[in-house]
């Protein structure tokens, strides 16, 4: 192939498999530590009981998803500036990991709500917005898969990924500016009629901080890194297929 497209450079980037495996091991240990602290170290909430422990993962998953979707914005902007495929891969990894994490966020929230709010789901602005957030990024994946031309796919994905972030920002701010949500704001002041809020003691704060750090700085990057590796591998195979077809 005479035209050295940027995609070739991305596909032949150094491997780093050893580092990724090390990171994965660290993530696994830290994740188990966080889980253990949530189960054994943090104090039991007097009003809500054990189900309150889910809250550590609920918050971790949301902010992990937030970081992943922010990566999609960075990847999209950088792709449009440089047209280097590695940024599109970065953005795609952000979307997939973000969808998984925001699903965990929704699911843990829903399971917590059953005993506390006495319902699995309610059409509260923040819950609606969080659900829409997942749908936007599923739409991102559908838009992507509908485009055969790779360059077009990358460009549209970049644009859509940037637009989609509005739903993430909306989910974050809706609790602050809208008084009619029942979702409690654990950090800072929230709605007056929020239900299910709780006071945190020091063991709870420590556990929350540790779990947030694990989800944001370890779990999200690890999953994204694996996803990027998979995409680079897929690109290499596609390239070989095309080279094969060109010969034949």
């Amino acid at each position: 192939m005479t035209a050295a497209s940027p995609s070739v450079a991305a596909a032949s980037a150094p491997n780093h498999l050893g580092r990724l495996k090390a990171l994965t091991a660290v993530t696994a240990v830290a994740f188990l530590l966080g889980l253990g602290m949530a189960l054994a170290y943090a104090g039991t909430d007097a009003i809500q009981g054990n189900v309150q422990r889910l809250f550590y993962f609920h918050m971790g998953a949301f902010f992990g998803a937030f970081v992943a979707f922010a990566c999609t914005v960075v990847g999209g902007v950088q792709y449009l500036r440089t047209r280097n495929v590695k940024w599109d891969t970065f953005a795609l990894a952000g979307v997939e990991v973000g969808v998984v994490l925001s699903f965990i966020n929704l699911a843990t929230g829903s399971i917590w709500a059953r005993p506390i709010w006495n319902t699995w789901w309610t059409w509260d602005p923040r819950l609606t917005s969080a659900a829409v957030m997942v749908l936007v990024y599923i739409a991102y994946l559908m838009v992507r898969s509908g485009i055969e031309n790779r360059d077009t796919r990358h460009r549209f994905a970049a644009v859509y990924g940037i637009l989609a972030f509005s739903s993430v920002v909306f989910t974050l701010v809706v609790i602050r500016i809208r008084p009619d949500t029942i979702h409690p704001a654990v950090i800072g002041t929230g709605a007056q009629d929020a239900q299910g809020g709780f006071a945190m003691n020091s063991s709870m704060t420590t556990t929350l901080l540790l779990n947030m750090a694990v989800w944001v700085f370890l779990l999200t990057p690890t999953l994204m890194w694996w996803r990027i590796r998979l995409q680079n591998y897929a690109d290499r195979v596609t390239q070989r297929k095309i080279a094969y077809m060109e010969q034949g």
């Binding site: 909430d45 009981g49 189900v51 998984v100 699911a107 843990t108 591998y233």
Partner: protein, 45 residues
């Protein structure tokens, strides 16, 4: 006031969390495996 017993819900939540992550990792592995199969086919021909 007694603390309600909500342990079942906690366990369900943890199971869903771990399950979701495990499923995603499994999907990554699955996709890598089918790529390997593609590559092997290219090599054969």
């Amino acid at each position: 006031m007694t603390t309600p017993n909500t342990t079942d819900f906690m366990l369900l939540g943890i199971a869903v969390t771990l399950g979701a992550i495990a499923l995603y990792v499994l999907s990554l592995w699955w996709r890598a495996r089918s790529l390997k199969a593609d590559e092997a086919m290219l090599e054969q021909e």
